[in-house]
């Protein structure tokens, strides 16, 4: 295994960035699916526009479902793009492969989704809240906090994963 090293004890980002970016994009899309499947469909706590189009009739439920579909089409696209980036990463010579770092990147993306979508949709635009009919400020704050925790945990795992992998005498590196 040979890795480019500009200084002792430093692992250049060229070896880690491809996997992290790919995993983050996938995690972002998967986070959208967790929200969509768990909160929109199974628990039915909210829909995409449930604060603007109240779910008090079948027609309004259908309207919300269509807008859910538009949103989830884009989360699906995120996963598709992430998979393409992942393929590119694992076939790129020099990419350091770490399962723990990959999981960390997924969590980073998931947390990014919660934080950004929670801020824009729940706080700024207020198109919906996490728990539409309940104490929604509390639930919205918990949702945002979960995003921060996931991002912090994911970033930590990324660092741990790459350090552990790089320290092994036969670390997995994509070769030419």
């Amino acid at each position: 295994m040979s890795l480019l090293s500009t200084a002792p004890g430093i692992l250049p980002k060229e070896h880690t960035r491809p996997l992290v970016v790919a995993g983050t994009v996938i995690g972002l899309g998967m986070g959208g699916f967790v929200d969509g499947i768990l909160f929109h469909q199974i628990l039915q706590l909210h829909n995409m526009l449930s604060n603007w189009v109240l779910r008090d009739s079948l027609r309004n439920e259908q309207i919300n479902m269509v807008w859910d579909g538009f949103f989830h089409a884009f989360t699906w696209t995120c996963v598709a793009i992430g998979l393409a980036l992942l393929w590119r990463a694992v076939t790129r010579p020099g990419t350091l492969l770490s399962g723990k770092a990959m999981w960390g990147a997924l969590l980073l993306g998931f947390g990014l989704f919660n934080l950004v979508e929670g801020t824009i949709d729940h706080e700024i635009l207020q198109v919906h809240h996490v728990y539409q009919n309940g104490n929604h400020p509390l639930w919205d704050m918990v949702f945002l906090a979960s995003g921060v925790v996931l991002m912090a945990g994911g970033w930590s795992l990324i660092g741990q994963g790459f350090r552990e992998t790089a320290s092994r005498p036969h670390a997995q590196v994509v070769r030419r």
Binding site: M1, S2, L3, L4, S5, T6, P8, G9, I10, L11, P12, K13, E14, T16, R17, P18, V20, V21, T24, V25, L28, M48, L49, L58, R59, Q62, I63, V66, W67, F70, F71, F74, C78, R88, R92, P93, G94, L112, F113, V116, E117, I120, D121, L125, V127, G159, F162, R163, A166, S167, R168, P169, H170, A171, R176
Partner: protein, 110 residues
């Protein structure tokens, strides 16, 4: 006269095997889409479908679509920032392993 081949007796004559015809495929599909409940969709020619399309594809459609998709440009920008701003990783304090050897990376990058 040859003895009966008992191990072949369980095999059915090919003419007894059920043949899948086009009707076996078309009929269930036709039945499914002709049921009244199937008309509660956004593209169906039904009162519900008409109401739904009128409520969705009105003068506010583009505005609503942009708002619904608003988080995605932010996601994209943050991913780009991650790509551009990803830091080098500091390894453990001890000397790097002998497996690390400076080697130029190929030109193919992200």
């Amino acid at each position: 006269m040859l003895p009966a081949c008992t191990h072949l007796q369980h095999v059915k004559d090919s003419s007894e095997m059920p043949r899948i015809r086009l009707a076996h495929i078309v009929f269930p599909i036709f039945t499914a889409v002709s049921v009244k409940s199937a008309h509660a969709c956004t593209v169906c020619d039904s009162p519900t479908g008409h109401q739904l399309r009128a409520a969705l594809f009105n003068g506010h459609f583009t505005h609503t679509l942009l708002l619904v998709l608003a988080p995605f440009p932010v996601f994209a920008a943050l991913i780009v920032l991650l790509h551009l701003g990803m830091p080098d990783l500091a390894l453990a304090d001890e000397a790097p392993s002998h497996a690390f050897e400076p080697t130029p990376l190929p030109e193919s990058g992200l």
